[in-house]
């Protein structure tokens, strides 16, 4: 999913850079309201983990591979704004140290992988959380589904960039169909890896998972355990659904 130099024209690349800079400035603005001391090493770890997992290309259709983008994962762990910065750090390190992703395409790649995943994907996650019961399993499920949708959404964003600054060798609809088709399959891997990782962290330290900070079970553990009958669970689920 890393766009190399020259694939998209300079005007569109510059525009994407402007969007990326503006969005990241918003992400780090007023961080005293959204970052605490514990989140600094946690966000660093999330970035390092995403770097490692992005190296793990898994085979998809014949002769094609895919890898985690990580935007939804980062957003669920440390919040959408810090999460977008985490993935952006990964993209910059990849481009500057490992020659992966063009230097002139940094803005494009940050928009497609960091912003679409951590901001757009997180919006899907929050929407799913609203309709699912307030249980840890719901956080895992919502993060998996949102993560599965992030690569096809990134593919659509790439298509938009191609429409604006591509070489016009193929029609926009052809590019959209091919890109979304390939990334729907990659999305399954993204969803599984994200759900497994969120599940592991939520089991170990649920209070550190940003996207799990409004769970009933965490807020009143004794009452939650006492009220663990099928009837009350069903009732609270019904109430949650109506909200």
């Amino acid at each position: 999913m890393h766009i190399p130099d020259g694939l998209i024209g300079p005007g569109t690349s510059f525009g994407a850079s402007a969007v990326a800079v503006g969005a990241l400035a918003w992400c780090v603005r007023d961080q005293h309201t959204s970052i605490d001391d514990r989140q600094v090493p946690l966000a660093g770890m999330a970035a390092a983990y995403i770097f490692a997992v992005q190296m793990l290309n898994f085979p998809v259709a014949s002769g094609t591979s895919g890898h985690l983008l990580g935007g939804v994962l980062a957003a669920v762990l440390v919040g959408p704004r810090l999460g977008a910065v985490c993935v952006s750090v990964v993209i910059v390190v990849q481009a500057m140290l490992f020659a992966d992703g063009g230097l002139s395409a940094l803005g494009l790649n940050i928009v497609n992988m960091a912003l679409v995943g951590a901001i757009g994907g997180y919006a899907i996650f929050v929407t799913l959380r609203r309709v699912l019961p307030r249980r840890p399993q719901s956080v895992v499920l919502a993060s998996g589904i949102a993560a599965a949708l992030a690569p096809p959404l990134a593919a659509l964003m790439f298509t938009l960039e191609y429409a604006l600054g591509g070489n016009e060798a193929a029609s926009v609809t052809t590019v959209a169909a091919s890109m979304v088709g390939a990334h729907v399959i990659i999305g399954i891997g993204e969803g599984v890896i994200t759900a497994l990782t969120v599940s592991a962290v939520i089991t170990a330290r649920p209070e550190l998972v940003w996207g799990a900070s409004n769970l009933d079970a965490l807020q009143h553990t004794p009452a939650g355990a006492a009220a663990g009958t099928a009837a009350s669970t069903a009732a609270s689920t019904a109430i949650d659904r109506m909200r």
Binding site: D36, F51, F58, L97, D100
Partner: protein
């Protein structure tokens, strides 16, 4: 989110950060040399549809760490594994130092001690 003593909170965070970094380093060193080397979705589509005619080589294609290998380390698995370890360390360092600086700047701006605890996401 309940308020806990900073000592306890930082100890608990340290454990999970160390665990996460250990997993990341292990994946980078042991697993990354053995993964699929097929082109990814974008490379595949770009080649199939010939939309990559304008592509230029990366300015750092001859760099020491280009394409997740270390120049001079001949064993391919070791080369990629070590490059991955360097990448994990670099990413963690850049992100942690960056966030810590951001945190300090933010603190100075709002006066120490007046830092609210983050709220729920929705």
């Amino acid at each position: 989110m309940p308020l806990v003593s900073s000592r306890k909170a930082s100890g608990g965070t340290t454990a999970i950060v160390v665990a996460g970094l250990a997993v990341a380093l292990a994946l980078a060193f042991f697993v990354s040399p053995n993964v699929s080397s097929s082109p990814d979705g974008l490379e595949m589509v770009a080649a199939q549809l010939s939309i990559d005619t304008g592509e230029r080589p990366h300015a750092m294609d001859d760099g020491t760490l280009a394409d997740y290998t270390i120049r001079g380390v001949d064993d391919p698995a070791l080369s990629k594994g070590l490059a991955g370890v360097i990448g994990v360390a670099a990413t963690f360092s850049v992100a942690t130092v960056g966030f810590a600086l951001l945190r300090r700047t933010a603190r100075r701006r709002v006066d120490v001690g007046a830092v609210p605890i983050p709220g729920p996401p929705s």
